[in-house]
Structure formats: structure tokens, C-alpha cells
């Protein structure tokens, strides 16, 4: 029976679940009654998608939809017999007496049967034969989580995949790390493959938006997604070779199913968002007092203190009025709003045994709670599968997406709205007496920004794949595909004369980025069973990928008026344009052998040739081996009801990272070093022909089990990754005229565990309660660092023996109650606080993170409660460093309300140091910025989403001609439990793109909003 089933499985696979049990076509003229029903798994009580329901005479049939529902139009010739089948389950025959009420059908899993065939990357395998660590998230798991970006939706759902939202801005980047970070200079972001297309993940933005980066993954409409599979260990990623070290995220979008009826789905969501828990700032009089106090403590002449009656002003020493005369302006309330969001999705899917299709259209409009930032997306997807012959199938997946954003600089920089409102002192009025904008500091006037800002981007993206699948025999198939992802990104900013960036006569910038990733693949799959017990599956493939990016950046200055905004109107125009390209050619293959459904072994090998690496090391080889042992199928294992499955697996292999810059290996001189209008050239880099890619060796052991009649499922993995040949800028003596060359020298390790426990706590016909708990732990460590590497911000320095994203600061011990001065740990014990006393006090990695999700179901009512937690991560609260600066930033920067709690009298404890900007006798500063005083515990528990949905009984909606109507209400971030003093411990300014060495720094980024959404989902 097994070989037949295997063949069946292959057959199913080839037709992507669109197989037809029988050739019969319903005879419409005879049909006059509809039988409806739902098919469930008898253990989990989960609806089953793709179960075949067939009339015994084969005159009519249906496949269950995503909610397990089916409907068949039949002759009212009762009693009728239906046969319900699903691979891996015992066939069931149901006798139907009438069509009055929907049928509820429960299928039992067939433990004798072989399990379902899986496609994992290039491999076709079965669940029993799988040796690798992978996780899959299905559309149903993420549809209740409100976000425009799938990265946010799957946060916490895949243990080992750490996703950290950098801000509450929709469509902006997140930090994505699978099983830690393996690289210092190259990208740490996993590769994303959508329907076989390698999609671009780099920020296409040309203008520095501070901490804000565009996330190209937000070009994917989450509602088009069927499933997301994350490949984690070496056995799974080895077939991606030089790109696999950071993990692989495979996204499959929805496809049509052969069905007598075209399914139309409409979904609408409307919501509001609010930002709360924003910083509280000092009042004007408090600000003045602190600055005066610092002036006096600095030993300056008290009669010249900045805040004294205006009559006492003398040249060079302005007087800003006495403290009590100061006003208090609340700017933060001006810049946040209750933001609206709306999303509409309309899809149609269906087809016949020859051709199936899915068409999905979407429009999303989401405002940010911070004014001037918006995200809009319109997308259209068209997926088509056509059987040219029974053994030849053509498949195509296509998406056209248009995203439009209003953009504003965040994080650092004087032009940003958030920075302006946060850092402009509260005692400063918004307008001057003559009505002009008051700009007393280096920040722009927040009202001027609100009134005059004009900036945004559009991104037009076309993603296509075309593949031809030829089943040469039952056992051998060949697939050829061509894939392309093309992005046209355009951004435009215009700063008029009311803005500081627009001085003196207006400035405009425009950037273009056109990127293209083309890949083509040939893949041969073979499956054969020897002697009934030894299953062989093998694959062999070739691929070629070419990436080309072209970009242009233009700048115009000197505009005739604020109405003329494009660069062509400007007096002085500058532009630069360039491009870069890379290519990767590969051969890969693998075999899987499984004996008697008990022992399975996988071998995979990929050879990659890349244009990016040095001429002397152009080709790299990435092998992996994995084994699994299905203990349940051993004869010695007693048959019982407690343990329903038990498998052990292990793998080891290599993966690479070729994101090393396109031309890092070449010695180059570059142009653009112009002087006085004449073209010049300058040396750009020394060459290194020996450059290789970064290589990660990873091993993994895992255990999966299902207990108590499948009421409790458990999956556990332990991994150990070791990355060597890290590309590091090896410092060369500055006197050479170069600062560094790129060299393979560093080593990083990541070790961790991943745990998923899912349980069906209550399973009654009317009430189900399911719980999923995930937990991941990763220990990152730089094992070898031959050179001094620092992030964009001094506290983020790399040290051998410490993790990436470590925070290197002076250790703050509190305030000396006698003097009021700060005490720092003198680790060097020389009586002075010097740079040698700085220590690593923590890092941005959580000790553990994960989700706790509970799903309650009472018939038509469903409640989904999803918590996300992170424990043990540190946040460098850079915003607090600025806002709690003890008067050292004088009249130019605001302070937060906590600043008033400083040392005033001997004996004061638990207070901030006394305001002072001059050095203490030991050389330290009371308000030293690089201090553990502003390194905080960023642990939190967030109610990420809570969704209540109600499915209107089908007998009501059927009258309106609808199959299913669901109403839902959901809320995101309803509460946040944390000791962190800033608004949100998750926000993070990531400099240098999403892979910057600075992570875990809260620096002028708005918090994640709280949102409330109402939605309706109609199926026709």
C-alpha cells in the first residue's frame, strides 16, 4: 500500500492539491439541492482544508475550503452516500438523509498511513522523512494580527526567528534575525522567497531618514499569503548555499482549487490607532532652575546665569528672564494624532481540473500616529496553474504592488518632527513676536514642519514567476522556472524656505532606485521505493541569479518660490547616478533515504560561484547531512494512547553569506573626488583577491512528539552555529592612506533552544480551547575579532567574548550623597575615570522571547488572545540620555520631567547627580552620556493582539446568497508590562540599514501604537 500512497502523494503534489478523485463532472441540470458541511480533524477539532468529499456514484464532488467547509449540489435522491477522504486519514463514508442542516464530519488520523508529502525548499519529502528544523505559519494563524507587514504578523510565532519592530511607523523596517546574528559586516537578514522568487529585502531609500528605513517586505499583501515556512537548520538551508546562513523564509501565496464554484472573498477592516505613554517633559520654570543650577555648579559667575531678568543682559551673556517668568509649551500633543487605518481585500479563486486561478486585490491606507507619516498600498496578485497535459503543468505567480508613503526623518537629525517636539525646550514659544517660527535650537520648529513638510516615496514592484513542471514518469519530474523581482522606487522631498533644510532658498531632493533580481532554475526530482521499505528521494538543480541595482540622487537648491517644487525649477542642481550588479551561479543536489518509515538520512550539497568573492576563491561548497528516527514505528515501542508520535532528528552542515558588497575584493579608484568644478579621482580601497564568503557551520538536534491523543504537541530544537571567515574591515595603518581592507577574519557563535508547546486544553463539541506557547533562547558570542569594530554610536562596540549589540559604557554606581556627584566604577583602579573603565553592561539580545497564544472557540464565537514577551534584553535609552542631561545641554535642549529629581542637599539618595557640565576630580562627568545610568532592562510582556470574531450562522447568510460571514473586533497592544522608563522598549533605531551594529537603542522613535480594528469577512 505504501508505494501506492507515495505515488498518490507525488501525484497530489504535482497538482498542488488540485487532484481529482474521479473524472466525473457534475451534471448541473440534474442538481437541485445543496448539501453543506464542515470537515474536522477528530483529535484537534481543527477544520481541515483540502479534504475531498465525493458522492459515491462520483457524479458530484467538492474540496473543503480554508475553513473546512464544503457544499455539493446534488439530486434530491436521498439517502445519499458521501465519501470523505484526506491523505493520512481514514476514509469515511457518511449517509445523508436530507439537506436540512450542515453536516459535521470528523476524520480520524490513519496511523498506518504514510504522512503527507512536503515541499521543503527544493526537496520533496514526507513528514516522517524530514530531518531538518523548519517551522510553518499558516494564513489562519496570522490573519487576526493587525499589521501591514508580515514580519510583524509572524513576530513570536516561529521560535528562533527574532523580529523586533523598530518603530510604530507602518511599513518601516524591523530587525529580523533567525537563530541569532552570524555576521558583522554582511547582512543578517534571512532570504525571502515568494513563490520561488528571491525578493529584494534591502532598504531602497536614498535619503537618510535617521532611524527610519523602508521595509520592502511590506510590499507583500499579507492576505495573499497561504503559508510561511522558515528553514532554520543546515540540512534545510544547505540547498541555498551561499545565501542560506541567515535562514530562508519561504512564502507561498494562495492558489486556486478546482471547484465547481468560484469562491469570492471580501474582507474589510477599519481601525484607529493611538500612541500613548509619551515622554513627560519639564516645565519652563523647572528647565530654567536646572540650567541655572548647572551654571552655578560649573563655577561660572552666578550673576551671569542664563535665566535672570532680561534687564541684566550684557553683550555675550544673554538673559532669558527669571525662571518663574518662563512659559511651558506642550509640543508633543501637537504631533501625535488618532490615526485611521483601513484595509480592503477582494479575492476570487477557483477553476477546473485543467486550470485554476487565484486573483487577489488589496487596498490599505494606514496613517501613523505620528503626523506626516502614512502608508498606502494597492496590490494585485494573479496566480495561475494550468495542466497542458496530464503530466505537464504550467504555473505562474504574479504580483503588482504599489506602495506610497509620506516620510519624515526619525531618530537623529534636526529636521525630524518627533525630534523637534521632543528636544526643543518647553520654555521656548512656538512663534516669535512677529509671528515667525521660533527656531531657538538646532532643531526645526515643529509647527513649521507640520505646516510645510513635503516628503514621501512610492514603490512600484512587479514580481513574476513562471514554471513548467513535467512529470517524466511517476517517479521523475523536471521543473524549470524563471523568476523576476523588479522594484521601481522613487522618493521626493521638498524643503521650502520655512524649514531649516530649505535655507536659504529652498532645497529639493529626489532619489530613484531600480533594482532587479532575476533567477532561473532547473530542478529534477526523483522518488523511488526499493523492496517496499527503502524510500529514495533525490533532487538535482542548477540556478543562476543576477542582481542589478541602479540608483540616482538629485539635489536642487535655490527655488524661485515655495510653489515650485521640482528640481527643474531650482538654480543649482547636482546629481549622481550609479549602479551595481552581482551574479551567482550554482549547482545543487541531494538525496534522502528512508528505511521502513523509521530511519531517514539526508545528504545535500550546493556549489555556488559568486561574482562578489575574490577571484582566488570564487566557488564555495556547502554540504549538509541530516538524520531522523521515527521511534514510534519501532516494534519495541509499545502501542499506547499517551504517545502518539515521537521523532528525533539531527543535522549538520554549512551555509554561506555572500552579502559582502559587490566589489569588496577589488583594488579600486573612484571618481567624484572633484575640486573647484574639476573632475578628480581618489583611491577607494585596497584589493583582496583572497576574499571568501562567510561560512556558518550549524548542527541541530530536535525532538517532536505528540501526546495524549494528540492533545499536546511538543517540538524542541537545540542548535549550535559557528560562523567563520567573517568579513571584517581589517584595520590597516592609517599612514597607508587607507583605513581598512576587507578580510575574512572574525568568528561568531550562536547557540540556542527553541520550544513550541501546543495543547488542546478543552475539546467539546461546543467549546474548544487551544494554547500555543513558544520560547526561544539564543546566546550570541563573538569568538574572534582581529580588529577594532565600532557601531555608529560609541557605546556599540564589538568585543571578543561578548555578543554583538553589546553596550560598552561607564558603570554608573549612583550619587555620592555628600557631594552630589556621580560615582562610576573605577575598574582600572587608578583613581581616574578614563576610557579604560568602560565595560560591557549588557546587550540587546533577549534571554528568551516568544508568544503565548490562547484561542477559545464557542461555536460561532472565537476569541484569540496573543501575548508576546521578551526577557533579559537591554535597551540603551539614548533619548533619556538627552532628556535627562542635568542642565549640561543648557538652553538648547529640553529635559524630561524626571530631571528635577537631582541631588540638592547632602544626604540626598536615590536621586540624579547635581547638574554640572564640568569634570569631576576623577575626570568623570555627572551626566556622562555613555553611562549605564541610561542602559535599561527592556524586558516586556505585550498583549500583541486580541481578536473576537463571530461567524453568522450559515442559515441566515445563505438567504443572502453568501457562504460565510464573519465579523471581528480586534485590538493591538492593549497593554504593555515593562519596567522600561521610555514609552516602548521595543523601538530601536537601527543605523546602517537593518543590519547596523547598533541594535537596542531607543533614539527618537515613536512607540508602537495601540490600535482598535473592526472587520468583516464575506465569502460568496
Amino acid at each position: 500500500m505504501k508505494p501506492n500512497l507515495l505515488r498518490l502523494a507525488v501525484f497530489i503534489l504535482l497538482f498542488h492539491g488540485t487532484f481529482i478523485l474521479a473524472a466525473g463532472i457534475p451534471k448541473a441540470e440534474q442538481a437541485n439541492v445543496i448539501i453543506r458541511g464542515t470537515v474536522f480533524d477528530s483529535y484537534s477539532r481543527q477544520p481541515m482544508t483540502g479534504a475531498a468529499v465525493t458522492l459515491t456514484d462520483k457524479s458530484a464532488w467538492a474540496i473543503t475550503d480554508a475553513n473546512g467547509n464544503f457544499s455539493i449540489r446534488v439530486n434530491a435522491d436521498f439517502p445519499l452516500t458521501l465519501e470523505v477522504t484526506f491523505l493520512g486519514y481514514v476514509d469515511q463514508t457518511v449517509t445523508v438523509e436530507n439537506a436540512d442542516k450542515p453536516l459535521l464530519i470528523y476524520l480520524e488520523e490513519d496511523r498506518e498511513q504514510i504522512d503527507e508529502v512536503l515541499v521543503v525548499g527544493y526537496t520533496r519529502t514526507t513528514k516522517n522523512a524530514l530531518t531538518s528544523a523548519t517551522s510553518t505559519v499558516r494564513s489562519g494563524d496570522i490573519e487576526n494580527i493587525h499589521s501591514v507587514d508580515i514580519n510583524d504578523k509572524i513576530q513570536g510565532a516561529v521560535p528562533g526567528l527574532l523580529i523586533s519592530n523598530n518603530s510604530g511607523i507602518p511599513g518601516s523596517s524591523a530587525m529580523v534575525r533567525l537563530r541569532g546574528a552570524t555576521s558583522i559586516s554582511a547582512s543578517n537578514t534571512p532570504i525571502y522567497i515568494v513563490d520561488g522568487v528571491f525578493v529584494s529585502t534591502g532598504n531602497p531609500g536614498q535619503t537618510d531618514l535617521g532611524g527610519l528605513a523602508i521595509d520592502p517586505i511590506s510590499d507583500i499583501n499579507p492576505d495573499d499569503i497561504l503559508s510561511i515556512t522558515v528553514l532554520k537548520d543546515a540540512s534545510a538551508t544547505a540547498s541555498y548555499g551561499a545565501r542560506g546562513a541567515n535562514g530562508v523564509i519561504i512564502i507561498n501565496t494562495k492558489r486556486g482549487e478546482a471547484s465547481p464554484k468560484t469562491r469570492i472573498n471580501f474582507k474589510a477592516q477599519l481601525g484607529v490607532q493611538q500612541a500613548d505613554n509619551i515622554w513627560e517633559l519639564v516645565t519652563g520654570p523647572e528647565h530654567a532652575e536646572i540650567v541655572n543650577q548647572a551654571w552655578i555648579n560649573d563655577g561660572k559667575d552666578p550673576s551671569l546665569r542664563p535665566f535672570r531678568p532680561a534687564s541684566q543682559a550684557i553683550t555675550g551673556y544673554p538673559a532669558y528672564g527669571s525662571p518663574e517668568e518662563q512659559i511651558t509649551v506642550d509640543r508633543l500633543s501637537d504631533i501625535f494624532r488618532t490615526a485611521l487605518q483601513q484595509t480592503y481585500n477582494l479575492s476570487a479563486s477557483g477553476g477546473n481540473e485543467k486550470t485554476t486561478f487565484y486573483i487577489g486585490g488589496e487596498y490599505t491606507d494606514e496613517e501613523s500616529t505620528l503626523k506626516l507619516l502614512d502608508f498606502k498600498r494597492g496590490s494585485l496578485r494573479f496566480n495561475l496553474d494550468h495542466n497542458i497535459r496530464t503530466n505537464l503543468k504550467l504555473s505562474s505567480s504574479n504580483a503588482v504592488v504599489y506602495t506610497s508613503r509620506n516620510l519624515m526623518r526619525l531618530g537623529d537629525g534636526p529636521a525630524g518632527l518627533f525630534q523637534a517636539a521632543l528636544h526643543t525646550p518647553t520654555f521656548q514659544p512656538v512663534f516669535n513676536k512677529d509671528g515667525s517660527y521660533n527656531k531657538p535650537t538646532s532643531f526645526d520648529n515643529h509647527q513649521a514642519i507640520l505646516d510645510n513638510w513635503d516628503g514621501g516615496s512610492t514603490n512600484f514592484r512587479v514580481t513574476n514567476s513562471l514554471s513548467l513542471n513535467w512529470d517524466i514518469s511517476d517517479e521523475l519530474s523536471l521543473k524549470a522556472s524563471a523568476n523576476n523581482d523588479r522594484t521601481y522606487y522613487h522618493e521626493i522631498f521638498y524643503y521650502n524656505t520655512n524649514l531649516i533644510y530649505g535655507q536659504p532658498n529652498g532645497t529639493g531632493v529626489e532619489g530613484y532606485n531600480i533594482s532587479n533580481i532575476f533567477s532561473t532554475e532547473g530542478l529534477l526530482n526523483y522518488m523511488h521505493t526499493f523492496a517496499g521499505v527503502l524510500n529514495f528521494a533525490g533532487f538535482f538543480g542548477l540556478s543562476y541569479q543576477r542582481t542589478q541595482t541602479d540608483f540616482a540622487y538629485m539635489n536642487g537648491e535655490g527655488y524661485p518660490s515655495n510653489q515650485l517644487k521640482r528640481i527643474t525649477s531650482s538654480a543649482v542642481q547636482t546629481a549622481s547616478a550609479s549602479g551595481t550588479s552581482s551574479a551567482l551561479a550554482s549547482i545543487f543536489g541531494g538525496v534522502n533515504l528512508m528505511y521502513d518509515n523509521r530511519y531517514s538520512i539526508d545528504f545535500t550539497l550546493r556549489a555556488d560561484g559568486s561574482s562578489r568573492v575574490g577571484r582566488n576563491n570564487r566557488f564555495g561548497y556547502f554540504p549538509a547531512v541530516g538524520v531522523s528516527w521515527n521511534i514510534m514505528n519501532e516494534k519495541f515501542f509499545p502501542t499506547n494512547d499517551y504517545v502518539n508520535s515521537l521523532r528525533l532528528k539531527a543535522s549538520i552542515g554549512l551555509g554561506g553569506n555572500e552579502n559582502i558588497g559587490d566589489f569588496a575584493s577589488l583594488a579600486l579608484w573612484e571618481g567624484g573626488a572633484n575640486y573647484d568644478g574639476r573632475a578628480g579621482m581618489a583611491p577607494a580601497q585596497l584589493g583582496n583577491p583572497n576574499l571568501r564568503w562567510e561560512t556558518t557551520r550549524q548542527w541541530n538536534v530536535g525532538l517532536t512528539t505528540s501526546l495524549f491523543k494528540q492533545r499536546l504537541d511538543l517540538e524542541f530544537n537545540y542548535y549550535d552555529k559557528f560562523t567563520y571567515d567573517l568579513l571584517l574591515p581589517k584595520a590597516v595603518p592609517g599612514k597607508t592612506g587607507f583605513s581598512s581592507i576587507v578580510d575574512n577574519s572574525g568568528e561568531i557563535s550562536n547557540k540556542g533552544i527553541e520550544l513550541v508547546i501546543s495543547s488542546l486544553n478543552v475539546s467539546r463539541s461546543k467549546f474548544n480551547w487551544r494554547t500555543t506557547f513558544t520560547l526561544a533562547h539564543n546566546k550570541n558570542r563573538i569568538e574572534k575579532l582581529t580588529t577594532d569594530v565600532s557601531g555608529n554610536y560609541t557605546p556599540f562596540k564589538l568585543f571578543e567574548g561578548y555578543p554583538l549589540y553589546s553596550m560598552w559604557v561607564y558603570e554608573y554606581l549612583g550619587v555620592n550623597p555628600e557631594t552630589g556627584d556621580a560615582i562610576y566604577a573605577d575598574h582600572k583602579k587608578d583613581g581616574m575615570i578614563t576610557v579604560d573603565d568602560k565595560v560591557v553592561v549588557g546587550d540587546a539580545w533577549p534571554t528568551i522571547e516568544g508568544t503565548l497564544r490562547n484561542d477559545f472557540n464557542w461555536g460561532p464565537v472565537n476569541l484569540d488572545v496573543n501575548f508576546y514577551y521578551k526577557v533579559g534584553n537591554k535597551v540603551f535609552n539614548y533619548t533619556r540620555m538627552f532628556l535627562e542631561s542635568g542642565g549640561t545641554r543648557g538652553i538648547t535642549r529640553s529635559m524630561q520631567a524626571s530631571s528635577v529629581n537631582y541631588w540638592k542637599n547632602p544626604g540626598n539618595t536615590g536621586v540624579l547627580p547635581r547638574p554640572k557640565s564640568t569634570a569631576n576630580p576623577d575626570g568623570s562627568f555627572n551626566y556622562e552620556g555613555q553611562s549605564s545610568r541610561v542602559v535599561e532592562d527592556g524586558s516586556f510582556l505585550r498583549l500583541k493582539s486580541i481578536t473576537l470574531s463571530y461567524t453568522i450562522p450559515s442559515r441566515w447568510v445563505a438567504k443572502m446568497g453568501m457562504e460565510k460571514v464573519t465579523l471581528n473586533a480586534s485590538a493591538s497592544n492593549l497593554f504593555l508590562l515593562t519596567k522600561y522608563t521610555g514609552p516602548d522598549p521595543e523601538v530601536n533605531v537601527s543605523r546602517g540599514g537593518t543590519d547596523g551594529l547598533v541594535q537596542g537603542m531607543d533614539f527618537g522613535m515613536p512607540p508602537l501604537p495601540r490600535s482598535y480594528t473592526l472587520g468583516i469577512n464575506l465569502t460568496l
Binding site: 561660572k300 553683550t315 555675550g316 551673556y317 544673554p318 534636526p414 527656531k439 531657538p440 533644510y501 535655507q503 532547473g522 538535482f540 542548477l542 543562476y544 539635489n555 537648491e557 535655490g558 549602479g579 551574479a583 550554482s586 549547482i587 560561484g609 561574482s611 566589489f663 579600486l668 579608484w669 573612484e670 571618481g671 575640486y675 573647484d676 574639476r678 573632475a679 578628480g680 579621482m681 581618489a682 583611491p683 585596497l686 584589493g687 584595520a731 590597516v732 595603518p733 592609517g734 599612514k735 597607508t736 592612506g737 587607507f738 583605513s739 581598512s740 581592507i741 580588529t787 577594532d788 560609541t794 562596540k797 576610557v835 538648547t892 535642549r893 557640565s917 564640568t918 569634570a919 575626570g923
Partner: protein, 445 residues
């Protein structure tokens, strides 16, 4: 059948992955082999070197201004003379010293010209390029030495990371001697034409030799070189003290780095208040502002600063809103002050001529000429006039160090300056770490 398919695919693979399809070349850079092949290509590299020097010198001036007692940070307004920290990783951070690596980037470009141009071209055009390259290398080494004291002398281009292995710090005197040698070479290669004050000329070389001689305490030479420039008749003081920076290439300018709205002065926004599009990091010390505004002290040099509207004075010299302010490297006013000081200090002092030179500067500032007085008092007056006249040209810090007055002038702000270790800046930490075998941190840091 299966075997055939594998054979076909294997063959396809071999063709497919021919390394040739993996040879991608950049579109905006070229290989470094054979970069200088003729005068024209040398000129291109020279432009690149000006570009690099333009950046180095901007940062150097910013650093040196901030190091002295003429400029403070607007935010803290802590009275001058920062505590230098060697912690910096960015060589450009004024708090961390003056851009060590970047100077050598420029030097490497200049060395490339000096090494390869003589091999491929001779004649007047080649000589002019060589002369300018010698001049720029002299300027670079002079300013690195003013910042750090003794530094490694690299005089040939770097082809690999180990090209400079074993080159340790030369003494401060030896670096200045090399600067002199380069300037002598420049003088011998230049003709006397002065076509463009945005490029070096023989007059720029003389002017720099005058400055150098003052630092080398060769006062006869200083007076003589300054005299060559002053007496050439090619330069004259502007009518107002601020005119030298209001327009580029003024009559007073000897050599300046040219910036434009498409090639902006680095840091220009640091001098501009927000309403003019800047970030206002640096302002004059309130004390200096008061003195410049004093009609008896600063006179018309009050033009060097501007009230931003609320009683805070800002530096005007670098504050063109479109970033096109030039960086005055050498100008005539300094030559008068050099000659005045040199005439007083030389073996056979000439107090009358020294006084005359000083009064040229005072009269231009709208101040009454000084009557003759004792040499000591006159030298103090020269120091003060240099402080006002060259207030933001980056001279104040090393003037006080050079004349041995650091302990009393800067020591008043911070006793650390009584220790000669702190008369030079620390090398950036990353420069030390990148060159552990050869580069030692300056003592005391």
C-alpha cells in the same frame, strides 16, 4: 534515461557556471593599476588630492579653533579647552583630534603623483602639477605635526597594507624639516604666475615657508619669506577685516580652498543658527565676542561675528548659507603678523619695522596705531592681534603652544596645560590600534 539526463545537466552546469559570467565590474570605479599615465591623468589625481585636502583642512581648522580659547560649543558653553579624549573611533570628531587617517589619504594621493608622474611626463605642465603636489604634501604634514607633534613620514604611495610597515614616528623637528624640503621643491618647480588662488602657487609656498619658519624659530627666514609675499605687490589687504571671506579669492587671499553650493564646506552648518538652516554647534567664547565688539580692542573686526538675534554671537566666516564659504589657508594679514613677530624675535631685531607691520593690521581694523614700546609688550600685543585678526583661522591654539605661553594662557582655564604632554592632541584610538607596531600614543594620553 536517468543517466542521460544527469549527463546533460552536468554538461549544462559546466557551461552555465563558467567563471566568465561571474566577472562583474563596478560602474563608478576603476582598478588602481596604471592610474597615472600622462599629465592629464595626473591632473585628475591632483584634483582628487585637493578634494581630500579640502576636507582635511576644514576639519583641522574646526578642531584647532575648538582646542583654543576662541571657540566654544553653543550647547554647553563650557569655557574652552576641551579635555581631549583618545577614545574616539572617528578621526574626524573634533573632540577626538584632527583627522589623522584622512590626512594620510591625501598624502597617499600626493605620493602617487610624485612617484609616477616624473616617470611618464616632463616639462612645464608636469612641473606645475608636481609643485602643487609638493606644496599640498607640505601643508598636510605641517598641519598633522601641529596637531599631533611627531608623526610617521610616508613619502611613497601605498600598494598594499604592508607598504608602510616599519615607518615609525619621526620627530616633530624632522617632520617640519621634511615640510621645508617639500616647499623648497615646490618653489624650485613653480614659476611666478598666479592664475588661480584656489590652487597653490609659488606665493602660497613662500607664505607657508614664512609660517613654517616661525614654528621652526628661524626668524630671519620667516621675515624674508613673508617679505617676498608682502612685497610682491600681488596681494593687498581688503578694506574691511571681513572682506576676505565675504567674496571668494579676495585681494588679500594667497591660497584658499574653494567650496561651492555643490561642493559644500564640511561643517558649514555647524556655524549657522537654525533659522538659517544650521545646527549652531560652535560659537565664539563670550569673552572673545566682548573683546571683538570693543571698539578699542577689536575695532572693525567686530565684523567677524554676528548677533543671531537674541544676544548670542555667532561666527560669520564659514556661514554662507549655501555652504560656499572658502577656507582661507593663507592670507596677507597673517604674513604681516608673521613678519612683525619675526622681526622682533630675530637675532638682530628691527622693532620699528615690526611695529609698522603690526600697525598695518591695526589700522585696517580701524584702531589707532601703537606707539613704540618694549619688545616684550609688543610681542604680547602681536599675540593679541593674532587672536583677533586670525580669530577663526585655526591658529590660536598652536600660537600659544608655539610661543611657550600655554601654561599661563590655557593653564588659567585648566591646570592640565601646565604639562607639555597636553600641548599636542592624542592620536585617535583607532589609529593606534590599526598600527600597533609602529604608532605609539602621545605621552600622557
Amino acid at each position: 534515461m536517468k543517466h542521460n539526463i544527469f549527463k546533460i545537466l552536468g554538461l549544462a552546469a559546466a557551461v552555465f557556471t563558467l567563471p566568465s559570467c561571474l566577472e562583474m565590474l563596478p560602474q563608478d570605479s576603476v582598478s588602481s593599476e596604471g592610474i597615472i599615465v600622462d599629465v592629464k591623468s595626473a591632473e585628475i589625481v591632483l584634483n582628487g588630492a585637493y578634494d581630500a585636502m579640502q576636507t582635511c583642512e576644514s576639519y583641522s581648522v574646526t578642531t584647532m579653533n575648538y582646542a583654543g580659547d576662541n571657540v566654544v560649543l553653543y550647547s554647553s558653553q563650557a569655557v574652552i579647552v576641551p579635555q581631549f579624549k583618545a577614545a574616539g573611533t572617528s578621526g574626524w570628531d573634533p573632540l577626538n583630534g584632527g583627522g589623522y587617517n584622512s590626512y594620510y589619504t591625501a598624502v597617499n594621493q600626493l605620493n602617487t603623483i610624485l612617484e609616477y608622474l616624473p616617470k611618464v611626463a616632463q616639462g612645464a605642465a608636469a612641473n606645475r602639477i608636481l609643485a602643487e603636489a609638493y606644496f599640498l604634501r607640505a601643508l598636510a604634514y605641517f598641519d598633522i605635526a601641529r596637531t599631533y607633534g611627531g608623526v610617521p613620514l610616508v613619502l611613497s604611495p601605498s600598494e598594499s597594507p604592508s607598504s608602510t610597515a616599519g615607518i615609525k614616528k619621526s620627530s616633530y623637528a624632522d617632520v617640519l624639516a621634511q615640510v621645508h624640503k617639500d616647499l623648497d621643491e615646490a618653489v624650485s618647480l613653480f614659476d611666478e604666475t598666479l592664475t588661480d588662488k584656489g590652487h597653490a602657487s609659488i606665493w602660497a609656498a613662500y607664505a607657508l615657508l614664512a609660517r613654517l619658519s616661525l614654528y621652526q624659530q628661524k626668524y630671519d627666514d620667516a621675515a624674508s619669506y613673508a617679505g617676498k609675499v608682502i612685497d610682491s605687490g600681488r596681494f593687498s589687504l581688503c578694506e574691511n577685516p571681513a572682506d576676505f571671506f565675504t567674496a571668494a579669492k579676495s585681494q588679500e587671499s594667497i591660497f584658499e580652498f574653494i567650496f561651492s553650493s555643490s561642493d559644500k564646506l564640511p561643517f558649514y552648518t555647524y556655524y549657522l543658527p537654525a533659522e538659517k538652516g544650521g545646527r549652531l554647534d560652535y560659537i565664539p567664547t563670550p569673552e572673545l565676542s566682548r573683546e571683538l565688539l570693543d571698539p578699542q580692542k577689536g575695532g572693525k573686526r567686530s565684523q567677524l561675528i554676528e548677533d543671531k538675534g537674541d544676544g548670542v554671537y555667532v561666527i560669520a566666516q564659514y556661514a554662507k548659507q549655501d555652504g560656499s564659504s572658502s577656507l582661507q589657508s593663507l592670507r596677507l594679514a597673517e604674513q604681516y603678523l608673521i613678519r612683525s613677530e619675526a622681526l622682533l624675535k630675530k637675532a638682530a631685531p628691527d622693532a620699528a619695522k615690526a611695529l609698522a607691520d603690526l600697525n598695518v593690521i591695526r589700522e585696517r581694523a580701524g584702531l589707532a596705531p601703537l606707539a613704540s614700546s618694549a619688545a616684550e609688550a609688543l610681542l604680547m600685543q602681536i599675540e593679541t592681534e593674532r587672536r583677533y585678526e586670525l580669530a577663526f583661522d585655526g591658529h590660536r591654539f598652536t600660537d600659544i603652544i608655539r610661543t611657550g605661553r600655554a601654561a599661563s594662557v590655557f593653564g588659567a582655564y585648566d591646570p592640565i596645560f601646565e604639562n607639555p604632554n597636553y600641548w599636542v592632541l592624542p592620536f585617535p584610538n583607532n589609529a593606534i590600534l590599526a598600527d600597533p607596531d609602529d604608532l605609539e600614543q602621545n605621552p600622557g594620553y
